[in-house]
């Protein structure tokens, strides 16, 4: 049990921090280059080997490690030292509750592909997210610089505000799935539902004869189909929590130089930089699990895969094969969600600070409350009809 948890933790750390985070710094550069009609990062080389610019993350890390670590005069040394750690740790440990596969029975042993399968997984993510606010705040305050403290003020206000919306935006989702446990949520999405049943149950309408296929259409039981509005709000709020463009007002280099991490250099700056990218991976994992069925293959539930493959190769092999398929599916969905964030980041210009706040309190918050109300009414109305 302890060994299995250790192996899974090491695996997650390796995949997320060791592979994904550095690679997506490269993806981000290439994506921006593509969207701005440039060639992009392709110069860094080791003995002439560039592998389409993939040497850039390596060069970055070497540069950051070799740089002088400056602590400004008048800074609070302890808090200045602590702040990057407080940024990096929540980003990393949030991944513990995200399932990267289902649970599989090999005879008596059960393999579950998640580090911590806790009853309140979703709340755990929010709790970690609320602790993530300390890093930026302390970074700016401890640096003893005016630009830094402006960035900190913006960061703390933005993160507190969007935390509220973030929480409310997914209430509808766990009303639908009746669970806070992320593994159960993923299992619940491994099925399909008849899309028109909603209309029939609510309004008693039958599909018109010409559109008979519409009545029979089945969709995967994914969060995005059941709670589309929640997905948009969740995406907005969590991107604002991660403080990446278009919500990067705490860094806003044209107004406040670089915000809360101006006074950081070397690998301590590197921690801020990497945490943002780890945040992108965690967000992608959350969106995959909550709204895109997690590890599940659409229209092919776990039992069907195991039964189908098991007929030819035996149940043991089929279960292992299913585990692999689910893991690959999860990684593909994760990649798609990372790509979505990258595309948004390079499409939208930075909001003005007051626009960020207005969006949260005047648009998203009322909308998320309305979503909860409507979801509750629909669930009550459909109760018993199904």
């Amino acid at each position: 049990m302890v060994v299995a948890t250790f192996v899974k933790t090491a695996f997650i750390l390796f995949v997320v921090i060791g592979v994904l985070a550095p690679v997506i710094t490269w993806v981000e550069r290439k994506q921006s280059a593509l969207m701005q009609d440039r060639i992009g990062a392709n110069r860094a080389s080791i003995a002439g080997v560039t592998i389409i610019g993939l040497m850039h993350p390596v060069a970055d890390v070497i540069k950051l490690l070799a740089k002088e670590d400056v602590v400004p005069a008048g800074a609070n040394r302890l808090l200045h030292l602590l702040a990057p750690v407080l940024v990096a740790v929540p980003a990393v440990i949030a991944f513990a509750v995200i399932p990267f596969g289902g649970s599989y029975h090999f005879g008596a042993t059960t393999v579950q592909l998640v580090v911590a399968d806790i009853d309140w997984g979703l709340l755990y993510v929010f709790a970690i997210g609320s602790l993530a606010a300390y890093g930026p705040i302390l970074a700016g305050w401890a640096s003893n610089s005016n630009w830094s403290i402006l960035g900190s003020l913006r960061a703390s206000a933005q993160m507190i505000s969007y935390e509220v919306t973030l929480g409310f935006s997914v209430v509808g989702v766990f009303m639908v799935f009746q669970t806070l446990r992320l593994t159960d949520m993923a299992v619940a999405q491994d099925t399909t539902f008849r899309a028109f049943a909603l209309v029939e149950g609510l309004f008693g309408l039958k599909p018109p004869a010409a559109l008979e296929w519409l009545g029979a259409l089945r969709l995967p039981n994914w969060g995005i189909f059941l709670q589309p509005l929640a997905f948009v709000m969740f995406l907005t709020a969590i991107m604002a929590e991660n403080k990446r463009p278009p919500f990067d007002t705490p860094e806003g280099e044209s107004e406040i130089v670089a915000g809360y991490h101006i006074e950081y250099s070397g690998m301590r700056f590197g921690l801020f930089y990497m945490s943002e990218f780890i945040g992108v991976v965690v967000i992608a994992g959350l969106m995959t699990t909550i709204f895109f069925g997690g590890w599940s293959v659409p229209y092919l539930p776990q039992e069907a895969i195991i039964a189908g493959v098991g007929r030819f190769f035996g149940v043991g092999f089929a279960t292992g094969f299913c585990m692999l398929v689910h893991f690959v599916t999860f990684m593909l969905k994760l990649a798609a969600m990372i790509w979505l964030q990258m595309a948004l980041r390079w499409t939208l210009p930075r909001f003005r600070y007051d626009q960020v706040m207005d969006l949260c309190w005047k648009i998203l918050l009322p909308l998320s409350l309305a979503n909860i109300l409507v979801t509750g009414m629909v669930i009550l109305a459909l109760e018993g009809t199904a």
């Binding site: 609070n76 009853d119 309140w120 709340l123 709790a127 602790l131 700016g140 401890a142 703390s156 507190i160």
Partner: protein
Amino acid sequence: MNFPTLLFHAFALLAVAGAVGTVANLRNTVAAAMSLVLTMVSLAGIYVLLGAHIIAVFQIMVYGGAIVVLFLFAVMLRGDESEPLPRGRMRLVKAASVLVAVCVMAGFARILVGFPEPPAAPTDFGRARTVGIALYSDYVLLVEMVSLVLLAAIVGALVLAKRNTD
């Protein structure tokens, strides 16, 4: 000593250390606030050891996160150097804090001396579903009352903020 007991002692020690840090950091408000975070998070750890998971999560979300962040926000807006209270007020505050400390200590003494062994917790104790159902059935009136108090606080804050801008 088994592992949970060891964890309990670690969390208890951290909670007390954080509390001492909160009181001792008179000159540095931000350090005091961060010590408070340490206490809050350690208490959440103790709640987990007691099986009250959902309370632990709320402890971190509300006290560990939002509330102390707001403290820090206020400190950063106002600056760290607040003027000391006038002598009379200071003496009153000191007397009040001693009184509160004595009351809390008396409460603990009452618990430690001859408090009956609590019954074993049911298996679904502290689950999100159990707590949720309890909150919105047996204690629904209290929940609504608390939300009313919070609403009053919001309205009060708005009135104060409006008066300062006019």
